[in-house]
Amino acid sequence: MGEKLLMKGNEVIAEAAIRAGCRHYFGYPITPQTEVAHYMAKRMPKIGGVFLQAESEVAAINMVYGAACTGVRVMTSSSSPGISLKQEGISYIAGAELPAVIVNIMRAGPGLGGILPAQGDYFQAVKGGGHGDFKMLVLAPCSVQELYELTVEAFNLADKYRIGTMILGDGTLGQMMEAVEFKDEENIVHYEKNWATNGTNMERDHNIITSIDTNPEILESWNLRLQDKYKQITENEVRVEEYNCDGADLIVAAYGSVARIVKNVIKMAQKEGIKVGLIRPITLWPFPVNSFEKYAEVTKAFLTVEMSAGQMVEDVRLAVNGKAPVSFYGRTGGIIPTQQEILDKIKSILNR
């Protein structure tokens, strides 16, 4: 490993993108992710890259679409209300099968909501917030170190599958400072992009990037191709952390910063003689269904904890498929659940 630095989460996202070979960033200011743009604005001109502050979130995602068409690695970042505005472009990116990295540092909603951390955009991220049958690959880091590693990986995955890849964090992660250890050299995987619209140079037929066809048979064949790709991703790209699950009386499902709180709860519970495990989905889509299926046979109960009114819990219930009870505990409005609240909930479920 290389350099170890104390850095803010948002800045690490930007640095990681640059290390992954991203030289094009288009964005619009919104709290609590704006430091990504600040960092890009400072660094990009010095390394021959492009930082452009767009007139709107809508324009920013369409600039991403345009740059992605040329085959370069490109990123945008925003927070919840801004991501809502980007949904049109995200759907087009899916339809045109373009690789792009989109960062959502979630804040409380709905509407203008508040600038404090939340996880209320889970449905939007994993169920397709825009129109049509599409998926994004959604990565959920839980530390500044993981923000770095998963951002680099997001670019590889986006290129590999020609898919919009989202880093789904929350205001806690974006704003916190933590030690991060950068590698001396990144694992940048290069993919041939012979589909890119970067000029024919009179040496090949023209390339076309589009998401429309008015012939229903052709459009359905495109949809089937997308679904086939999603199937491959589901089979090959699931990432999950299973922590303390073997022999657990109860398993908590949590992602991102909430999962870290749960790890402390596990220690508190241990002192009281309660064995609690954690399943932490790192890919929210594809969802780690197998982990839940496996433990549904042996654990007494599941508890999903989120900074939302209950969104991921629906996927947990689908995965557990009635084999064990699934409870939910969540806080909204920008409130982070405390360790004690979560422990009390666990005890009430187990009648302890």
């Binding site: 324009a59 369409n62 040329t70 490109v74 000029g199 024919t200 023209h206 390339n207 990037i209």
Partner: protein, 248 residues
């Protein structure tokens, strides 16, 4: 035997899907002739809009990208910033550019993006069957102004060239028309200059082209040409608004 007329290389040899008498075909040909003359087919990327020309990516031999409604200038910005040595143009109608895409065109223009916009103004929404466009004339009947466009209810026609000419980032702005041979020749000159301005790195260039929509105007092609002359020319003044004497 000397060849005096042929299809431009930049225009693909495929049938166009436009209605009889529609002027989009002329615009396609003019752009293609200019691309040929400047020798830039291999280094040009075009951006198609949403509207009647949504799939005109099928008609040009250069690389083509389809954009969502109104966002072509933002998409072109992304392409041009990623490929600073290439030529990028957008092809947009009046609903796409002057209604849903107003923010994108204004900001691409004010940033001085080195792109060229071909803006086709036929005073109506063609693709969705004849609704009021931002450029629809006062008293013009459309499917959403069945009693005519009234200033107090629907506002006034928007003058895109005049508006964009106020922005410092714009380098070349001209409004042309396609109602006769002389004007078609002028249109080609303006399109060529607009591309040359981009090639010279001078900034944003746009050509607004007054065009006909016989199908949605409810006129035959000849009547439509006459309607353009009698009704659009008095409202949309032809000529150069910026960059006439720019050295390119």
């Amino acid at each position: 035997m000397a060849t005096v007329f042929k299809k431009p290389h930049a225009l693909r040899d495929v049938p166009l899907h436009y209605c009889p008498g529609c002027t989009h075909g002329i615009v396609h040909r003019l752009i293609s002739e200019v691309i040929d003359e400047l020798g830039i087919e291999g280094s040009t990327i075009g951006v198609s809009p949403v509207g009647c020309t949504y799939n005109n990516y099928l008609y040009f031999n250069c690389d083509m990208v389809q954009a969502s409604h109104g966002r072509a200038p933002a998409v072109a910005t992304g392409i041009r910033r990623a490929l600073p040595d290439k030529t990028v143009f957008t092809y947009q109608g009046d609903g796409d550019l002057a209604a849903i895409g107003t923010a994108e065109i204004v900001h691409a223009a004010t940033r001085g993006e080195k792109i060229t916009t071909i803006f086709v103004n036929n005073a109506i929404y063609g693709m969705t069957s004849g609704q009021m466009a931002p450029t629809t004339l006062l008293n013009q009947v459309t499917t959403t102004t069945p009693y005519g466009r009234k200033a107090d209810l629907h506002g006034f026609p928007i003058h895109v060239c005049e508006m964009l000419a106020t922005l410092e980032g714009t380098a070349f702005i001209e409004r042309v028309s396609l109602h006769d041979i002389k004007n078609i020749n002028n249109a080609k000159k303006a399109i060529k200059k607009a591309f040359e301005v981009q090639l010279a790195g001078k900034g944003f260039s746009i050509v607004e082209i007054l065009s006909t929509c016989p199908s949605n105007w409810g006129l035959n092609p000849l009547e439509a040409m006459k309607w353009l002359q009698e009704n659009m020319l008095p409202v949309y003044q032809l000529g150069n608004f910026k960059g006439k004497d720019l050295e390119v």
